[in-house]
Amino acid sequence: MEHLFIPKTTTTPEIKFYPDGNLYMEGISVPENSLNFYTPIFNWLKELAEVEKEGICFRMYLEYLNTSSTRSLVDIIFELKKMTISSEQLKIIWQYEMDDDDMHEFGEELEILTKVKIEFEEVNKRK
């Protein structure tokens, strides 16, 4: 299985998804049509479901996103949940900028929406 790399654009995040279960997403997500952007990601995840792996680690760092991207994130997390046998096999990390309580809260909202445990990591990427 090939990895999935999608470069960052002004409206969509960078995607670096590896078949060993390491998944990374970083940037802004405000595509005009979120389905157009996220469909190849869902297709790739369906393939990942068939591959043997120890676990999945999905790390996200988003500066901001729109409502339709929020739905797509929820769908990605549901897909990941479906393909893992136990909760220990699935690690979801929400990175947020130091002092950005609002983005931290957004991650917490995502946790409530998906009912999947999310770990939080404070980072300092934006100058």
Binding site: T10, T11, N66, T67, E97
Partner: protein, 183 residues
């Protein structure tokens, strides 16, 4: 300024007394402007020393307001879209108005009436249900942008509908956000 959406002079005077820094644009807002516009607003907020967390909240609201104008804006009508953001020491007011067609007029009117009749808790519950609904993509996000605006502003938002003598409709969103750090 376009007098069509402008408030009474007294209200405008009060606005300019309250909000000392502004960002205003009018014309046609198109999708490729979205990120540049958000970046400009963010730069403006940085210059005003607005804290990171509040900047994020403002950006979330601006994105939904602009996307609403992009989605429902009817460019065939004579009135232009406007977007204005005003900053005071502790408050930000985001306003956006755009012409809409009859179908959007009916839909937005129904949705805004629905929102204004609900408590914040009920809106959060509806948001969650609609966000996870199977019809989400089919219904073009089910109008969840307005829900997001209501939630992020703690219901400090209102929706105004105007119709002229030619039955052309105009929709205005006002959203105000209070910066808890500045209070």
């Amino acid at each position: 300024m376009n007098k069509y959406w402008q408030r009474e002079q007294a209200a405008e005077d009060s606005y300019y007394n309250t909000y000392k820094s502004h960002f205003f644009l009018t014309g046609e807002i198109i999708q490729p402007f979205l990120v540049s516009l958000i970046d400009l607003i963010d730069e403006n907020m940085k210059k005003l020393d607005i804290n990171k967390s509040f900047r994020t909240k403002v950006k979330f609201v601006c994105i939904e307001i602009i996307e609403n104008a992009l989605k429902h804006g009817d460019t065939s009508q004579k009135y232009p879209t406007f977007f204005r953001i005003g900053f005071s020491n502790d408050k930000v007011l985001v306003e956006c108005g755009n012409p809409i067609n009859e179908k959007s007029f009916q839909k937005l009117k129904e949705m805004s009436a629905d929102l204004q009749n609900q408590s914040l808790e009920d809106i959060k519950k509806s948001y969650e249900e609609q966000l996870k609904s199977d019809d989400f993509y089919k219904t073009g996000n089910g109008g969840l942008g307005l829900f997001t605006i209501a939630i992020r502003t703690d219901l400090h938002c209102d929706f105004d509908f105007r119709t002229d003598e030619n039955n052309e409709h105009y929709f205005i969103i006002n959203a105000s956000l209070l910066n808890p750090v500045a209070v």
